[in-house]
Symmetry: C2
Subunit: 230 residues, 2 copies
């Protein structure tokens, strides 16, 4: 599930700091989750710790990496080298964690040929060749919203079955294709909501605020500091 990458990151941090084993509670703290939840998650993987001792860090890293399919480096194609695409192309957090940006693509021919971080931008029409050459397994869309659906269709057409979408729009794709969406503005809006709520509550601590801000408790009780979605 979606917490495994977080566990993996925490495990790498623990390994770097010299830990050989971790208790479920130690790892849970590092990953920011409940220890019972972590144990249940790990038990679903079939990976066994040792009672009285904990989990072997190196073994668990191998197990989780294997489940996530990170044993080999995955090649991703990045479509759209605008503001955001530029940053993603240079983001070193990908290479450190088993991903290689293998191709930069844009629909704007005036951008084709530009070199970013050692990669030359190619035209989106070359996608069939690119995917074949580099054995791309994931496509990242960092285009403006109006172009995103067309790009997604092209990616699907050339056999990409996993898409990370930064464009603020809903993509429709065939069954069997996974889409994950990251909308930076939405994240801020959610924070704005909490901020607005806190402001209303402190202003009217007795009444609980106006009808608009005094939502049923469940609405505001949302998971936070979790990796996007699940």
């Amino acid at each position: 599930m979606s917490r495994l990458p977080e566990y993996l990151r925490a495990l790498h941090a623990l390994a770097d700091s010299g830990h050989e084993t971790v208790s479920s509670e130690g790892l849970a703290n590092a990953a920011g989750v409940n220890s019972a939840k972590l144990r249940k998650d790990l038990s679903h993987l079939g990976s066994y710790g040792t009672r009285g001792v904990g989990y072997d860090v190196a073994l668990l890293i191998d197990q989780i990496s294997s489940v996530l399919g990170l044993t080999q480096c995955r090649a991703v194609a990045l479509v759209g080298v605008g503001n955001l695409g530029h940053a993603l192309a240079g983001y070193d957090g990908f290479a450190n964690r088993g991903f290689r940006i293998a191709a930069l693509v844009d629909a704007d021919r005036s951008r084709v040929g530009e070199e970013i971080n050692g990669l030359v931008v190619r035209h989106v029409d070359e996608l069939p060749d690119i995917v074949a050459e580099e054995s791309i397994s994931i496509g990242v869309i960092a285009t403006p919203a109006p172009a995103a659906q067309a790009v997604a269709d092209q990616l699907v057409a050339v056999g990409v079955t996993s898409i990370l979408n930064f464009a603020p729009c809903v993509l429709s794709v065939p069954d069997g294709v996974d889409v994950r969406k990251v909308d930076l503005a939405i994240e801020l809006q959610i924070l704005s909501f909490h901020e607005h709520r806190k402001a209303s509550l402190t202003a009217l601590p007795a009444t609980g605020g106006s009808a608009l801000t005094a939502l049923p408790g469940g609405l505001a009780a949302t998971e936070t500091q979790e990796a996007i979605g699940t």
Copy 2:
């Protein structure tokens, strides 16, 4: 809840294309959710549509904007102008949706003074002044992981109660401070997991794959194309 921003985005798109009213099903499709869920969400807001007609687009935009606290433009401070921070500073998706990047901050004095998108980078030690001047309500952390906790502490110290964290680490903050985390590598790893699963299943359609890949169904059935977390 976390779906409201998505509804709001869909509503703006509908308004731009000239729609006066929307049915719950139309809006649900545009936002990529179930229509019953959407109606229930909207009913929790206390906003009323008209039976037999649908929802008034403009009215609903006002309602949701009000609930999210987007009636006034919110000022955000961006800490860390490295690769990612640079892109975020130039990202136009923020300004279009009620946010204004009011300050760029970095701990590296060699970056202080640099101008990005019309804003001058200032030193992180000036945060108290900056927050006071610009009435910052949200802080965005785009620093490397080792620096993130210290930055978060500084933000909290100067009164920021909402933080969007792009650094791959868990932040510990006092109660009352909201942290949302966006880890781009984790998104890719989740896609990698699905990709790995799909590959295993197609390779061994009869047996269902090895023990490692044949996880209990629930593990793979994760929400997708949802805005990060909730």
